[in-house]
């Protein structure tokens, strides 16, 4: 069996080169898709319509006019105030997550426009410690609400989260109360809040702001629930039905207004903003290939100057 032995010594296996991921495999149907193709298709599988998880930057590109996001409070970072250590130290987890994601925490907040409507947008990143909600997420949402009230703007939160961040103990639980009470204030100010729920959204985030939208919209196939499926399975000791806690399940049970594909999302959001806000949209702000056919009519409308816009807003 000599021929199986390596004849020459000193041969080194070739080092694996870091290759950029050019191709991605669909989690649902297994289709291999060229990444560029996927990007163009809003990270939706071209074969089976499966919605891949997206980063905050990708939501910005897909939903906000001209990819413009005027971010605020991005400098807020988490503190390990309990000196929490399980299998890892919380302080190390924070550092690693910042390095890995390039974000300072699990949410980004800022101003943008959706088909001309100015809006305050909060976008969660599931890749940052499972999108968990600690003090930073709570504070940034609270401040985003304050900005919306101050400038009389609508608010949208795009959720993606495993729930409250256990490493912050009871303080993370209090973020549920902090965010919900702020949203109640926004509601009283007569401003709309759209909750856009993406895969996955569970635990404390579902049990606070994700379920509190004037309008709740989810992406197709997203896992949305209070308890995670594993916990439920353990508790009741039986398998869970197909589609349990997915978007269609939540729609069927009455907790969502709509399940909307990424291809239609921006237009759907515009419909909500058109109904809830008294602001007229300047024609030049209406752009992009996503506009429905009816839109050009709007161009006939007189263009409001900014003063009028502010007046209308105050009267809203």
């Amino acid at each position: 069996m000599d021929w199986f032995k390596r004849a020459k010594e000193g041969l080194q296996p070739q080092k694996k080169k870091e290759m950029p991921e050019l191709w991605l495999k669909c989690n649902a149907c297994g289709e291999i898709i060229y990444k560029k193709e996927l990007e163009k298709n809003f990270f939706v599988c071209t074969k089976c319509n499966f919605h891949f998880r997206m980063k905050s930057s990708e939501y910005i590109a897909n939903l906000l006019d001209d990819n413009q996001f005027d971010e605020f409070n991005s400098n807020l970072t988490s503190v390990d105030f309990l000196k929490f250590k399980a299998s890892k130290r919380y302080s190390d987890q924070i550092k690693t997550a910042i390095k890995k994601t390039g974000q300072n925490d699990a949410i980004r907040t800022g101003f943008g426009k959706i088909h001309g409507h100015e809006i305050v947008v909060c976008i969660m990143d599931f890749s940052f410690i499972g999108g968990s909600m600690g003090s930073v997420v709570g504070e940034k949402i609270a401040r985003a609400v304050d900005e919306a009230i101050k400038r009389h703007l609508p608010l949208m939160i795009i959720s993606a989260s495993g729930g409250a961040r256990m490493m912050e103990g009871a303080i993370s639980l209090m973020q549920l109360a902090k965010t919900s009470s702020r949203l109640a204030k926004l509601s009283e100010a007569g401003l709309p809040y759209i909750s856009l729920i993406t895969d996955p959204t569970t635990g404390g985030v579902t049990a606070s702001y994700a379920m509190l939208g004037d309008i709740n919209i989810a992406e197709p196939g997203a896992l949305i629930g209070f308890a995670g499926p594993r916990v439920i399975k353990q508790t009741i000791g039986q398998d869970l039905p197909d589609g349990f806690q997915r978007s269609d399940f939540q729609l069927h049970h009455g907790f969502l207004d709509a399940v909307v594909s990424r291809h239609d999302m921006k237009n759907k959001l515009k419909e909500v903003l058109d109904f809830t806000m008294d602001v007229q949209i300047a024609a030049e702000d209406l752009n992009g290939e996503l506009m429905p056919e009816t839109m050009p009519e709007l161009a006939e409308l007189p263009l409001p100057d900014s003063d009028n816009l502010a007046d209308e807003a105050v009267n809203n």
Binding site: M166, G169, A170, G204, M211, L212, A227, F255
Partner: protein, 318 residues
């Protein structure tokens, strides 16, 4: 009172049974050992004070879960006159894991809601171990709205290992029910006093836990998840619950320091399960004193202060 003895109570329990034996012996045999008995009683008193003055977090949690610990109904029976219990959420059903109703607390008319655990196996099942379904939270909200309509303060007694994680609970919107309560409770124009009387686990506790004052009884715990749940997720080993309890900092002393709760309600030495009446009396007096303060505030100020109270909770770098 209780026959259930926790590990750390054993030395005390043994000493006390020895005292009992000696008393019996002295009576039956007519032997004069009063001095010795007094000496042992002194020792027991000292030992009791010592044990309960330096409980670990895990030991407090065990007291919070003590099978003889007074539950919501035990307090209602002792504190509230003319209690009218409300039932049902007017949408799906009635949830026995949540009690809601109204009555008189001293000279105040109050609404009262609380998680309810069961004592016997049958009761435990009936009360679903104090783990409400969505209809429980919606029933509680109904009682709280009623209180707001008639300008009566609200008392919430928190004692739950968590909101129930089951198929029906998810179908009927456990998350939405809890979220709705947080949202609504933050703007009710009447005083709301929250008291953690046993276990305060996660959203299931907070679902009736947003208020102007949050008080914790001495031997209770309150956190984002049970130590067992935390250990299962972060240690991947639910037997590490004791470690998780220490790490999560879930006792009243911890939460006073973090600013999550406003004050601690003392319990009779040895825990509320030793003396129900005394525990209920302390609770009643504490609530009445807090109400006097809160009722001075006009509703707008009350709501503003409530939102501000939660706004301050959080630690971060900027």
């Amino acid at each position: 009172m209780s026959e259930f003895v926790l590990d750390f109570e054993k030395p005390l329990f043994e000493l006390e049974s020895r005292i009992r034996e000696m008393k019996e012996y002295s009576e039956n045999e007519n032997v004069e050992i009063a001095d010795e008995i007094t000496r042992l009683q002194q020792k027991a008193k000292k030992l009791r004070a010592e044990i309960y003055s330096k409980l670990t977090r895990w030991q407090r949690l065990q007291l919070a879960r003590h099978p003889q610990r007074p539950y919501t109904r035990d307090y209602i029976e002792r504190m509230i006159d003319g209690f009218f219990e409300m039932h049902g959420d007017r949408a799906f059903g009635d949830d026995p894991a949540m009690i809601a109703g109204f009555g008189r607390l001293g000279d105040k008319k109050v609404a009262i809601v609380g998680h309810q655990k069961g004592r016997t196996t049958k009761q435990k099942l009936h009360r679903n171990f104090g783990m409400p379904h969505p209809e429980g939270y919606r029933k509680a909200l109904r009682a709280m709205r009623l209180a707001a309509k008639f300008k009566r303060p609200i008392i919430c007694l928190v004692d739950t290992p968590g909101a129930f994680p089951g198929i029906g609970a998810e179908e009927r919107g456990q998350a939405e029910a809890i979220a709705r309560n947080l949202f609504e409770m933050s703007r009710l124009p009447v005083p709301i006093i929250i008291i953690i009387i046993g276990e305060g686990a996660s959203g299931g506790a907070l679902g009736i836990g947003v208020g102007d004052r949050v008080l914790m009884m001495e031997n209770t715990w309150y956190s984002v998840i049970s130590p067992e749940g935390c250990a299962a997720i972060l240690w991947r080993d639910s037997t590490k619950a004791e470690e998780a309890a220490e790490a999560m900092k879930l006792t009243v002393d911890d939460l006073l320091e973090l600013g999550v709760v406003d004050s601690c309600i003392k319990e009779p030495t040895g825990g509320a399960h030793q003396k129900y009446d005394a525990a209920a009396q302390i609770l009643k007096e504490t609530i009445l004193a807090e109400l006097v303060e809160l009722e001075k505030l006009p509703p707008e100020d009350l709501i503003e202060a409530r939102v501000e109270k939660y706004a301050k909770m959080g630690f971060f770098n900027e």
